[in-house]
């Protein structure tokens, strides 16, 4: 086999790529080691080591960019001789999805993550000053772990990493395929292609944002580790602060983009489904927000130093844990979106455990050396309530971690726990109390002053926003018919968060935009929670059966029916609209269904078209067909439609005969056959046929077959097709069960075998095409998206303000600052 000389292959890509992969790994290790030496020997004599560290990290950076460039070229040139290219791209794929192909697979997304950390590392290298050596040593070590994920080497029979430059014909699972006997196989193949589900602009912007968010957790982490290592316990927090809020903003945006993607084009039925993969991205964000606020407390009050270490460390560890969850295949049946195991479970586990142990050891060793602040936080101080908020976030995070980790605890303890049945309801119930506390703290937080607050002023300032929120909440509860106590409480706290922060901005900050960062971020958070609460709790399924038909015959279990059958041309009432299914057409790999929404004028009884939605069924050879929703956005609500079932065999124009092709069946007495909607038993043969009734001649031979039919609803029917021999001609008399749309024909009796031949034809239901549709109204979901925007803008403003202040602080005489830092000693 090895003697075949293949034509058309570009081996150079693989050689180049593998060289870069090795270089990136080796250079990261070298950088880590050199920076380690530099950090260990303080000051002057460390200069050569530091220089080597910088050079090595630069080489690592170039190597990572080299890997990416090589992979881009391969994908762009359709170099299907490489497995990764074959697996993720194809000739027919539009060029704009080249980026999406790049990070569709595990290897590409690891590379994306590595790339962002290279970028952040280069900024850190130039800005970390006294922390450069220890921080970069740790960061390079993280990079070495990430780079090792691409190695694809076998060490002692264990594969380390999954290499993106492996050749298609060398992939173990494809060995011995006859195709590779052909020297020119390459000219005959096409790539498998990007999963059509991911051919979506969200796939181009969501992963980079999310991974930049993940990557940014590394900076506060390495600062914290460096602070412990170099015993500069209180010196790094100020530098880590803007990094943290940058990361909080990016990761938050990435998570919400995922939510928007799920809402717009995946069939989750909402923007947040508490899927384990979604949870995995949310978990570190919660503690990251905690970390940011803990750093603010420390900056202002030099208090809670232990927490300034714990929060960034926990956040980073949770990112690693999330990575383990989503990429090791351990989630198995509990998530449809997780990667399947590609043999890296052990390696991911080592990565996770290594950094847990490293952090734990450092924290324990240095714990007793941490400067203790003698004073206790005042009850009425901003730091106290901020700290409390951070702890509530940790608790909320913990609940999500524990439940999402059910597959892990099953594996570790040999348990048999299943994920919650009503997952969304379950998580919502547990998280709403946390959300109530957090939004309440968000409302009052800024009104507290650091150190101590004049309670009189505090109450006075908050009275107006409080009363206003009570009023608005009452009005909106009546409007929305909200009755659940928890929902009402959460609606109140989120209104309170909005009004209180708005008042704070206009009064305390004199409506100065640049200084309004924190208030806007908090206000935006209040809006997000409010939008999420209203749109989920008041979501209304309008595709309930209003036609009056069928319902009685359906029998049991129709109470929870949320999907409606729409025949082409039929008009049914849905909520405030009347809805018609007008037809379908094909575009590329999508089948678009046209669902026309009509308004009915109550006076004239005339219908006027309001809008058309085009929910899609995507013909997806990789995953099976996938339904994509279609949503109409209004200012105050969204109308969301989603195809639950469609018979793709029916042509849209309704051509074809009334009955489909007869399907033959051969059975004896007591045997069973089935159609798509029922089970049919041949009960008996019946020779006493009423010949007059069937218009038969007296000398005709006629035998009936008694068929017992049970339909999907357990309803029973009996019918009797007749086998007739008239003048030596076989003239079967068919029997039709119109309710089921079935036609039975008794074709033959085989006297030797005692078996009978039948055919069943299924009616095409008066040739009408139909769909089973789910339609849902999400009220006020725009509040949520608007809140996201406000929160992001607020965070950007806050970061700008922090950087500006840090620069101003630097211009002050240096003694003033260091004195303040050292005070707790």
């Amino acid at each position: 086999m090895n003697s075949i000389i293949y034509t058309g292959e570009h081996l150079i890509w693989g050689q180049l790529g593998n060289a870069f992969v090795f270089l990136s790994f080796a250079a990261a290790l070298l950088a880590s080691f050199a920076y380690f030496r530099s950090a260990q020997n303080d000051e002057l004599e460390n200069a050569p080591w530091k220089k080597l560290g910088r050079i090595a990290f630069s080489i690592h950076s170039l190597a990572v960019i080299g890997i990416m460039t090589t992979m881009f070229c391969m994908i762009f040139k359709h170099a299907y001789e490489y497995y990764y290219v074959w697996e993720h791209s194809s000739n027919s794929m539009p060029k704009r999805y080249t980026l999406a192909c790049f990070w569709e697979g595990q290897e590409g997304s690891f590379l994306l993550w590595t790339f962002w950390q290279v970028l952040l590392g280069n900024i850190l290298m130039r800005s970390a000053k006294q922390f450069e050596a220890p921080a970069m040593s740790i960061l390079s070590l993280v990079q070495a772990f990430l780079a090792s994920m691409l190695l694809g080497y076998y060490i002692l029979g264990i594969r380390i990493g999954s290499n993106p430059f492996i050749m298609l014909r060398e992939t173990p699972e494809f060995s011995g395929i006859p195709l590779f006997q052909m020297p020119n196989y390459l000219s005959k193949i096409d790539g498998r292609g990007l999963n059509p589900l991911l051919q979506n602009y969200w796939m181009t912007i969501h992963p980079p944002t999310l991974f930049l968010g993940f990557a940014s957790t590394v900076v506060p982490f390495v600062y914290a580790i460096a602070g412990l290592w170099k015993k500069k316990y209180g010196d790094w927090q100020l530098a880590a602060l803007p990094w943290s809020f940058f990361g909080i903003m990016i990761l938050g945006t990435g998570i919400l983009m995922g939510g928007a993607w799920a809402y717009e084009s995946l069939s989750f039925g909402g923007f947040w489904a508490w899927d384990p993969v979604e949870n995995a991205s949310l978990i570190p964000w919660l503690t990251f927000v905690g970390a940011g606020h803990i750093l603010i407390i420390y900056k202002a009050r030099k208090q809670g130093i232990l927490s300034t270490f714990l929060f960034p460390i926990i956040t980073f560890i949770l990112v690693l844990y999330s990575t383990f969850l989503t990429r090791s295949g351990i989630l198995g049946n509990t998530s449809v979106h997780a990667f399947t195991d590609n043999g890296m479970k052990i390696q991911l586990l080592v990565y996770l455990i290594f950094f847990i142990v490293l952090s734990l050891v450092l924290v324990i060793v240095h714990y007793s050396n941490l400067p203790k602040s003698g004073k206790e936080e005042e009850l009425w101080s901003r730091e106290f309530w901020m700290f409390l908020g951070a702890l509530v976030l940790v608790m909320s995070c913990m609940q999500i971690v524990v439940i999402t980790s059910v597959p892990v605890s099953n594996a570790v303890f040999g348990l048999n726990q299943a994920p919650p049945v009503d997952r969304i309801g379950f998580y919502n119930r547990w998280q709403i109390p946390f959300a109530i506390i957090v939004t309440f703290l968000v409302a009052i937080g800024l009104y507290f002053k650091f150190k101590t607050t004049n309670l009189k002023d505090f109450v006075k300032q908050l009275t107006l926003p409080f009363l206003l929120s009570v009023l608005i909440t009452t009005v909106s509860c009546i409007m929305l018919k909200l009755t659940n106590g928890f929902y009402i409480a959460l609606l109140f706290t989120s209104w309170f968060a909005v009004t209180a922060n708005f008042f704070y901005w206009t009064l305390a900050k004199k409506a100065n935009l640049a200084k309004g960062g924190a208030t806007f971020a908090h206000l935006g958070f209040g809006l997000i929670i409010m939008g999420a609460l209203i749109s989920t709790s008041k979501k209304q399924v309008i595709s309930v059966n209003t036609s009056g038909k069928n319902v009685e015959t359906l029998g049991k279990d129709i109470s929870n029916a949320t999907d409606i059958l729409l025949e082409q041309g039929d008009t049914l009432r849905m909520g405030d609209y009347f809805v018609t299914y007008t037809g379908k057409h094909k575009e590329g790999h999508n089948i678009l269904f046209s669902v026309l929404f009509l308004n009915k004028d109550s006076a004239t009884k005339k219908y006027t078209p309001a809008f058309t939605l085009n929910p899609i069924i995507q013909l997806n050879p990789q995953m099976g067909n996938v339904a994509e929703p279609s949503t109409r956005h209004f200012f105050t609500k969204d109308i969301y439609t989603h195809i639950m079932f469609a018979d793709l065999n029916i042509s849209a124009d309704g051509s074809g005969s009334e009955f489909g092709t007869p399907k033959p069946h051969t059975l004896g007495i007591g045997d069973t056959m089935f159609s798509s909607n029922s089970i049919i038993i041949l009960k008996a043969l019946d020779s006493h046929i009423d010949k007059i009734k069937y218009h038969l001649k007296a000398d005709d031979i006629a035998v009936g077959a008694v068929l017992d039919i049970v339909d999907v609803n357990d309803k029973k029917y009996t019918t009797e097709p007749i086998y007739v021999i008239s003048n030596d001609m076989i003239k079967p008399q068919d029997a039709t069960v119109s309710e089921l749309g079935l036609k039975f024909s008794f074709q033959k009796i085989n006297p030797d075998t005692h078996k009978m031949d039948f055919t069943i034809s299924e009616s095409k239901r008066s040739n009408k095409d139909f769909i089973v549709l789910e339609a849902v109204v999400f009220p006020y979901i725009n509040v949520l998206w608007f809140g996201c925007l406000v929160m992001v803008i607020g965070t950007i403003l806050a970061i700008r303000q922090r950087i500006k202040k840090a620069k101003e602080a630097k211009n002050l005489p240096p003694t003033a600052q260091t004195d303040a830092d050292k005070k707790p000693e």
């Binding site: 195709l179 439940i403 048999n416 029916a561 995953m623 798509s676 909607n677 999907v712 139909f770």
Partner: protein
């Protein structure tokens, strides 16, 4: 930092409570026989589709009822009544998880269903690209 200590203890206690209660609310994986022993409890049953038995769906009769036969991992077969439309590509499923409770001794009423298709994320081998072939 006394106050903080009290709060920390309180929070640990609440967190413990949260974790324990939310775990006890969980359903468990079970076989059909175990599910039949507690018909009021909701279980996850993992199994394979019996492709020799009928699976029935008729949107005109009932858009939200799909019935099929599932063999659980212990080899026990039950008729499953899923209260949803027939999922796409159902026939190709390799493994099925039904979530619901037993309905009498020989039926299982499923509120939801998860499928694992062999094709998911990993499909097929490289084949010759036939220019003349139809789509």
């Amino acid at each position: 930092m006394k106050k903080i200590h009290i709060i920390a203890i309180l929070i640990i206690a609440i967190a413990f409570g949260v974790v324990m209660t939310s775990l006890s609310n969980n359903s468990t994986y079970a076989s059909f026989n175990e599910a039949a022993a507690h018909p009021d409890k909701v279980y996850h049953v993992v199994g394979k589709l019996d492709k020799n038995k009928p699976f029935l769906y008729d949107a005109h009769l009932n858009a939200n009822l799909f019935t099929f036969y599932l063999i659980d991992n212990k080899g026990v077969e039950r008729k499953v009544m899923l209260q949803k439309p027939k999922p796409d590509d159902f026939e190709h499923s390799e493994q099925i998880v039904v979530i619901g409770n037993a309905n009498g001794t020989d039926e299982f009423k499923a509120k939801d269903l998860l499928m694992k298709c062999p094709s998911k994320y990993n499909d097929g081998k490289p084949t010759e690209n036939k220019q003349t072939g139809s789509l």
